[in-house]
């Protein structure tokens, strides 16, 4: 059975995993479970950059897979990077088993703005959905508002919806009627 496993990477309040556990099944058309054991991220730390290597984290998350139908999504408050990029909101193995999403740059307070209790969870759901899309084979989409659109800056996340466009939904393999009206 296809299932998405949610794993905390480093210190993370359980409420964020519970939020995704509640939201993602409707969006991706697969069941979810929360892995009670967090991943210790120290091995992926880059001291001088004060960031964590997203690729190394994804590789470690893939090792959590116990069932061929499972895919793993790590969730973290850490700031992530890839070797060529200054930062990333998340990373995934395309059509692979592991992905990670970071809340670090999704938080309005990171940019000196007032905390917004609604905005952070909304952004997290969208970016988690985006990385899940990659796990299930979707590439970046140029359709405005599709969740598979690439967001270079955080404001672009706010523009898009939490749902894939019909074409991406077909590619991800979301059964017809799975997507409800839970827009952005």
């Amino acid at each position: 059975m296809e299932r998405l496993v949610l794993v905390a990477v480093g210190d993370l309040e359980l409420q964020w995993l519970e939020l995704l556990h509640e939201s993602l099944p409707d969006l991706i058309g697969r069941r979810c479970r929360i892995d009670p054991h967090a991943l210790e991220p120290g091995f992926a730390a880059n001291g001088p950059r004060r960031q964590y290597n997203a690729n190394l984290l994804v590789e470690a998350l893939v090792e959590r897979v116990v069932d061929p139908g499972e895919r793993v999504l790590g969730v973290t408050r850490l700031d992530l990077y890839l070797s060529v990029f200054t930062f990333v909101f998340g990373a995934a193995h395309l059509e692979g088993s592991g992905a990670v999403v970071s809340m670090h740059r999704l938080d309005p307070s990171k940019y000196g703005l007032e905390p917004d209790p609604a905005l952070l969870p909304e952004r997290l759901i969208k970016e988690a959905m985006h990385e899940c899309g990659h796990l299930y084979g979707a590439v970046h989409c140029r359709t405005p508002e599709c969740v598979m659109g690439f967001s270079a800056v955080v404001e672009e996340i706010d523009i898009k919806s939490s749902m894939p466009c019909p074409e991406c939904a077909r590619g991800i393999g979301i059964p017809p009627g799975t997507i409800g009206d839970q827009g952005a």
């Binding site: 070797s83 060529v84 990029f85 059509e95 270079a152």
Partner: protein, 465 residues
Amino acid sequence: MSESKDSTASSILVVDDEQIVRESLGAWLREDGHKTRLCADGRQALAAARDEEFELALVDLKMPGMDGLEVARRLRDFSPRTTVVVMTAFASVDTAVLALKEGAYDYITKPFDPEVLSHLLRRAREERELRRQNTGLRKKLAAATQPPRIQGSSPALQRVVELIENVAPGQTSVLITGESGVGKELVARAIHAGSPRALMPLVIVNCGALPEGTLESELFGHERGAFTGAQYRHKGKFELADGGTLFLDEIGEVSHRMQVEMLRVLEEKRVVRMGGHTSVQADFRVVAATNRDLKRAVKEGHFREDLYYRLNVFHIDVPPLRDRVGDIEELALHFAARLARQMNRAVPSIQEDAMQRLMEYDWPGNVRELANAIERAMVVSRDNLIRLEDLPIDGVIRRQHAPGGRSLAAVERDHIHTVLDETDWNISEAARILEVDRGTVYNKIRAFGLERERTGGTAGSGRSR
């Protein structure tokens, strides 16, 4: 689903000696929907570029062996359509300038912000699209300015082609003569297309089709309020032809007063719009055509001698089709092929006896009549074969059917009058039946002094039905 799904996807070559860099960059580019090829050094990259043409190459500057500048240089030489972007960990003005000198489109400093890469990819894509459009437009422009092909290999026609080639590159005024339907306009187009003015407009005026007042306004333009109904300033054909060629068709039909006005403009190359006071410069080359014997018209006082010599600096006479029977088969096959393309059907064959009939026919309407005959035959033909009975010239070999004892002009006059009566003087309909253009019908009406019977019944004197 990981296949790219839109036209913005590119094929991208990533060249970097650091495995972690090329793999993470390759993974991100694949997530972005692009097709990637990852190479660890310049040698591998050049081999890959020989295998396939990449739209974009992201090349690391510092690599052991062949460095990024060398890779950029070599890619520019043998894969010029690949946009090269150099990646460097140590950006400096020197390296940036060097990279751009070696043909790189841009450079990017590692590690880069995702937005910078995304923006760069978009710009590179837009630049490629502009280059592609530019190439396409150049091809279209070259095709549009290509001199039209004049079909026919008879010596008479080849002589015409030779004359066109001789006169086209200059500025000389040309007078084209020939019967209606021989292709005088095609000759004018070929002269324009072969001239340095080819990229500027070719403005065509059918002087015979317009009443004098209208022709004057068409040629000279008018200012607002110049006459009743002149609500706006209107540029005339002389002005519109500025930089290009003005083709005055049926110049022999122009009134005496207009001939004077035209001569003045042709000599001064300045135009005063109707109702205007100031003159406007207009640089155009003039090519004129007529199916009349202008020399005779000059002798008879119908055409101004000075205008005749102004127009007839170089003379091309296009022979009638009956004088170049050798071209008929080639032309018939050419029209059949062209019409087949237009009708989206297979090119028909022409049965031997049908072709024989085409060769024997007199073609008073010349090439235009032949084209119409082939079109009509293709409409009614079956099995993609044009048969004798499909031809609209069935049983009428005109050179054998001239009524004895009457002049050709008399027969022509009667026939035109008959057709006009039958069509209730609908000029377009009459022109279609006669297989000539409307201007020619007007000319014939004027030349033969034909008049419409107002009371019905039989028409004017000397006409037999």
